[in-house]
C-alpha cells in the first residue's frame, strides 16, 4: 500500500501535467477562452495554492467558532469529585 506522500504526489503531478498541457498550448484550451481569462490559466498554480490557504483558514476559523465548550461537564465533574472524596474519606482510602 502506498504512503500518503506517494498518493498526494501522484495527484499533484497529474494536476501539474494538465496545467502544463494548457499552458504550453499542447491542448489548445486557450483559444477557447476569452483574452482576459488567459491569466487565470497562466497563474493557475498560484490560485490553487491561494485557495487552498483560504480553505484551510476558513476551516480552522469555523472549527474554533463552533468549538464545543462543554462547561457543564466541568461543573458535573467537580460535583462528582466532591461526592467521591466524601465516600472515599469514609472508607479511609484518602485522608
Amino acid at each position: 500500500m502506498a504512503s500518503q506522500l506517494i498518493i498526494y504526489s501522484a495527484h499533484v503531478v497529474l494536476l501539474v501535467l494538465v496545467w502544463l498541457l494548457a499552458y504550453t498550448e499542447v491542448v489548445p484550451v486557450l483559444s477557447y477562452i476569452p483574452e482576459c481569462a488567459h491569466c487565470l490559466v497562466y497563474y493557475a498554480p498560484f490560485f490553487a495554492v491561494f485557495f487552498l490557504g483560504i480553505y484551510a483558514a476558513f476551516n480552522v476559523i469555523y472549527g474554533v467558532a463552533t468549538f464545543n465548550d462543554c462547561a457543564e461537564a466541568k461543573v458535573e465533574l467537580l460535583q462528582e469529585i466532591k461526592q467521591a472524596r466524601a465516600e472515599l474519606k469514609q472508607k479511609r482510602i484518602i485522608d
Binding site: M1, Q4, N59, V60, N68, C70, A73, K74, E80, E87
Partner: protein
C-alpha cells in the same frame, strides 16, 4: 464474574489525588459490566502506589491489578506492560487524571457491540464532543493541528490525538507492535495504521475536562514533535499492519525520536487473520524484568503454528526466505520467531 471481559489500563505517574476518584467513577458507571482495572505506575514518587494498594484492598484483587514499573518508561511500553496482564477480551485505554470521564465507557461498549467494531475512539471534535477549559489560543492550535492531520493523513476519524479508546485485545497488540512513535504521536500512529489496515472503527463523542487550564501544556517543543510525527506518518511506506503480500521482506520500523534507552519494538510481519493467536504470544513481562531500566526491550509478536499441514509447509518455504533476510539483520529474537514457525 471471575474472568473480566473488559480490561481498563491506567498508566499513572503522580496521580495520588486523582486515582481514587477515577476508580470510584469507574466503579459508579460500570456497574453490571465485568471489568478489571490494571494500574501501571511508573514509580511515582508521590505515593500513588500506596493509594493503589488501598484501593485494591477495598475493591478486590480480581478487580484491581497493580503492575508497577521501575521508572518512567513511556506510554507505549506502559500499554504493552498492562496488556500482558490483561485477561479481558477488550482493552480500554484512558487517562487517570480525570480528563477522561468513565461515563463514556458504557457508550463505547454499546457501540462496539452494536456494530461489531474493532476499535471505538472518543472524539472531542464531532457529534457533541467537546473540551472544557481551553482558551482561544489553545482551541486555534488544536483545530489547526487537526485540520493539518485530516488534510495530510485522511485518517477517517475526527480526533486523531485522543487517547480514550476501546480496542479488541488482538488489535491493540498488533498496533502496539507496529507503532514506533512516542507520546501522543504514538496514539496518532496507532489510529492511522488501524484505519489503513481496514479495521472497523467507531466514534463516541466525549467531553474532555482539561484540568490544567491556565498552565500551558503546549510548548513549542510539542508543536515541533507533532509536526515531525505528522510528516513521519505522511511518509510511511506501508501503514497497514496486516500485510497484503506475505513474501515481501519487511523494513525494520524507523524510530522517530531518540530518548535515552528507547524501547525497540520489532515485529514479525507474518501475521495472519487469526489474530487471536497474537494475544497469546509473548508480550513477555519476564523479558523486561531481566534487563535493567534504560536497556532496550524487544517485544516480539509471534503467531503460533497453523494446524493445517499443507499451509505450514508453504509457510516453511516462505519463512526460509525471511530467515535469510533476517540473518543479514542479525536479529536474534525475530530469527527465533521465524525458526519456530519453520518447525
Amino acid at each position: 464474574m471471575d474472568t473480566p471481559k473488559y480490561s481498563i489500563i491506567l498508566p499513572t505517574y503522580n496521580e495520588k489525588e486523582n486515582l481514587p476518584i477515577c476508580i470510584w467513577l469507574i466503579e459508579k458507571y460500570l456497574k453490571g459490566i465485568s471489568y478489571e482495572i490494571i494500574i501501571v505506575d511508573d514509580a511515582s514518587p508521590d505515593g500513588t502506589q500506596d493509594v493503589a494498594k488501598l484501593l485494591e484492598k477495598e475493591y478486590g484483587e480480581n478487580k484491581i491489578l497493580i503492575k508497577p514499573r521501575a521508572g518512567k518508561l513511556g506510554l507505549g511500553t506502559a500499554y504493552s506492560h498492562g496488556l500482558s496482564f490483561a485477561r479481558g477480551e477488550f482493552i480500554i485505554l484512558m487517562d487517570a487524571d480525570l480528563s477522561h470521564h468513565p461515563k463514556f465507557i458504557p457508550e463505547m461498549i454499546a457501540l462496539q457491540q452494536k456494530y461489531k467494531l474493532d476499535i471505538v475512539t472518543g472524539t472531542r471534535y464531532k457529534n457533541g464532543g467537546g473540551v472544557s477549559g481551553w482558551d482561544l489560543k489553545r482551541k486555534t492550535i488544536s483545530k489547526g493541528a487537526n485540520f493539518l492531520a485530516q488534510f495530510l493523513l485522511n485518517p477517517g476519524v475526527s480526533d486523531l490525538t485522543g487517547s480514550f479508546r476501546l480496542y479488541k485485545k488482538e488489535v491493540l497488540a498488533t498496533l502496539i507492535a507496529e507503532s514506533v512513535s512516542k507520546g501522543y504521536v504514538f496514539q496518532m500512529e496507532m489510529m492511522f495504521r488501524a484505519k489503513k489496515s481496514g479495521y472497523r472503527i467507531g466514534e463516541v463523542p466525549i467531553s474532555f475536562v482539561d484540568r490544567f487550564f491556565g498552565e500551558s501544556k503546549l510548548g513549542s517543543q510539542e508543536i515541533v514533535d507533532y509536526a515531525k510525527g505528522l510528516l513521519y506518518l505522511f511518509a510511511i511506506s506501508d501503514p497497514a499492519v496486516i500485510p497484503k503480500h506475505e513474501d515481501v521482506p519487511v523494513d525494520p520500523p524507523k524510530e522517530v525520536s531518540t530518548p535515552a534507552g528507547p524501547p525497540i519494538v520489532k515485529s514479525n510481519r507474518k501475521k495472519n487473520k487469526k489474530t487471536e493467536t497474537v494475544s497469546e504470544a509473548v508480550l513477555d513481562p519476564t523479558q523486561e524484568s531481566q534487563q535493567g531500566p534504560g536497556a532496550s526491550v524487544t517485544i516480539t509478536v509471534c503467531p503460533t503454528q497453523e494446524d493445517d499441514p499443507s499451509i505450514s509447509a508453504a509457510k516453511a518455504a516462505k519463512s526460509k526466505i525471511k530467515e535469510e533476510y533476517f540473518d543479514d539483520q542479525n536479529d536474534d529474537d525475530t530469527l527465533a520467531c521465524v525458526k519456530s514457525i519453520e518447525n
